[in-house]
Symmetry: C2
Subunit: 432 residues, 2 copies
């Protein structure tokens, strides 16, 4: 089998004609398929329905200290929720604050407060001429939107299967006092599904920031979100708070987790883990912001799971639904794109995404063609700060939401579009 | 009966001796009573327990448009929640955004965003040399803490039974571009329980602010929180969004409501009403901050109440628990302080507080003496910006939380302290 680059013009034009026919046939079906966002499917949501049975009008509504969870108070979370979420996050309950339903909201508020009030007594970023944020790329679009919103200068840091380019990270963080943070999804990264190597984590912990208010924003969104049961197919990363303590830098990291993709995305628990100094800083503004988050939902989650072992068992049921979807995407990609040398894709052991790299300059066109045929993808460029992918090649594939049969159609259409756009690019290069 | 000021030194000393005996006797009991915060009591919380029965594992989880409330999305609230909260707030569903569980959090976020990003495209307050906020006094301590946190210069505006001093408000708002907002609790105000007169509301709506980013922060926390059933004993205020529209100033107000004191303080719904221009401004940052609030809790509230009539019926049951508590406080105050000319207190038709004004310079001492005898009150001064009551006379009484018998003890102890501190003040003045 020849790659497209090895084909001559006539062969490419013939291939193009056949693909165009297939594309037109798909278009005529008037489909509406969505591979844009990392949303759990209905079948996954159904797994947690019994969460709604945990509390009823006859329940005992007090936490383990006797506090009535229906009333005001306990802004940083009930003890048993700290214990459960701490176990999930591999830290002590004392290292935790439990918030509302959204870890994105916690991160936004952290950046917002750092901007308006400063980190642990340091100068608020709004009073600085400039401040910078490191952004491993490709990465999570919603992270980048937050720092864009507050006016950071965002700097691209290339990702590898071991994590961000740590030479660059060290160079920036240890020398430039304008660098205030870095966005990290350390396990099953968004979108590539890479997990940081032990060396990467240790180099993070060993950072000696030029800025006293530099923090690592460690969004451990997929900590227990494996696709496979076998331990050898599950990624493991070092615990960052522990590593930072051991390295003598306990305050340089904020860790974020949530149950958004464990129970219900709209009605889960979100939490933050950090050193006492950092948590006290957070508590000092939380006391002004709110009289407390939803403690009944904390109680509901704690009583539903009981412990981490049950939560992990629950995640196995998610994996049983997600795994066939990922494998269907990979099968179709392999069947339709394998050996053509027109793109590369990742095959992670967990998380919510497959990252696809097309030939340079093709991503926007592929996404547009998919859209025209009824397949919605995350906009090309979204995985880069300011929505600007310098090579216009990265596309994030989110297989979780559509039912399997729809997903297969979407993946098929996607590969047809990749091939058509790639042929056009190669043909135009041959003409040059 | 003589007032204390009419008594001579010997009469006062004798009175003092008797009161000191009673005070010492109370102290020996080692009580622990709390009249500090506007917290609903356990009996009130029990009224809403069936809210926990509304959803179970077999429920239909979609909203009326078919959106699955378990999943991500719908950041500004499901339509039926907008309808219910709109009805509660006397505005159209289109004027509403539904947030999480805390209206204080909405207000904090509004100030935070105005500070860091600006209101509707205006200069962010963090870029200004100075900005001012008008604070009707006595008022709600948590409001003042928010603007203090962000560094506003806060200006006291005296309250009367008709609302804030509107001559002062107009003078400031219409002439000083540094004045960016005013905190209002327009109905059953915190702490006095005053409700703004129609003229006051119309003068608010007619404001012509010097600052284009001036907003009225209209915290309608007690909109349906009456103590009495009879319409003649229920305060009614004009609807502010409507009045502002009629006056041609639709954008000068944000209105806030919540069900914190309708269902559960920790697990209710909070919402904001405003013009489309203002809501679009809010939505532009919400999209960066979160992927949505807890829609299952929205669904739960909508299905529990169905409509405003049921919600009002529910509030009657709250009133049956609260009314005897307010009346007990008033009875004890009247019996022990009536005719002595050592203090004045309010007798509102609703809300959560009684405001007490002692003789000047006595509030801190009264609160401290109460504390020593086991009665916790809101710190003296808390009802003023920066915690500074210029006359040291206002004390906020919160009768809702303690059981009735404990509340009666607390009120009794309070009056003993008021009389002791007042006698000392009068004696010291006689000696001058």
């Amino acid at each position: 089998m020849m790659t497209y680059k090895e084909m001559n013009k006539e062969e490419l034009l013939e291939e193009r004609q056949n693909l165009q026919k297939e594309y037109d046939a798909w278009k005529r079906k008037g489909l509406s398929l969505n591979m844009a966002r990392g949303k759990p499917s209905k079948a996954q949501l159904d797994l947690s329905n019994e969460l709604m049975d945990v509390l009823d009008s006859n329940s005992y509504f007090n936490d383990q200290t006797g506090t009535d969870c229906r009333n005001y108070g306990v802004p940083d979370g009930i003890p048993e929720a700290k214990a459960l979420m701490g176990e999930m996050s591999e830290v002590s309950p004392d290292d935790m604050i439990i918030f509302g339903n959204s870890s994105l909201n916690i991160m936004f508020d952290q950046i917002s407060r750092s901007y308006s009030k400063g980190v642990c007594g340091n100068t608020p970023w709004c009073k600085l001429d400039n401040w910078k944020f490191l952004c491993p790329v490709p990465g999570y679009d919603r992270h980048f939107k937050v720092t864009e919103y507050f006016g950071a200068e965002m700097i691209n840091i290339p990702m590898s299967p071991d994590g961000p380019d740590m030479d660059m990270v060290e160079e920036y963080v240890n020398n430039d006092p304008e660098v205030k943070g870095i966005w990290c999804v350390p396990k099953y990264s968004n979108p590539q599904g890479y997990s940081y190597s032990d060396e990467t984590v240790r180099r993070f912990a060993a950072l000696t920031p030029a800025a006293p208010d530099f923090r690592i924003y460690w969004d451990n969104a997929y900590s227990i979100h494996h696709l496979y049961d076998e331990p050898e197919n599950q990624d493991v990363i070092l615990e960052i708070l522990d590593e930072c303590r051991k390295a003598g830098h306990p305050d340089i990291v904020y860790k974020f987790i949530s149950t958004s993709k464990v129970t219900f995305p709209g009605s889960g628990l979100a939490a933050m883990a950090a050193s006492k100094k950092n948590l006290d800083d957070v508590r000092s503004y939380m006391r002004v912001q709110t009289i407390g988050h939803d403690k009944l939902n904390q109680l509901r989650h704690v009583r539903y799971f009981g412990n981490l072992a049950n939560m992990k068992q629950h995640m196995r049921r998610h994996a049983e639904i997600l795994r066939p979807k990922f494998e269907a995407v990979w099968d179709i990609f392999e069947k339709n794109l394998g050996g053509l040398d027109v793109g590369e894709w990742t095959k992670p052991n967990g998380g919510y995404f497959v990252s696809f790299d097309s030939l340079n300059g093709c991503a926007k066109k592929i996404v547009a063609m998919c859209k025209e045929a009824g397949v919605t993808l995350t906009p090309a460029g979204a995985t880069y700060p300011y929505g600007k992918d310098p090579d216009d090649k990265n596309i994030r594939i989110a297989p979780s939401y559509p039912p399997l049969e729809e997903l297969k159609q979407a993946a098929q259409i996607f590969t047809v579009c990749v091939r058509l756009v790639s042929i056009d690019k190669i043909l135009s290069e041959k003409e040059d």
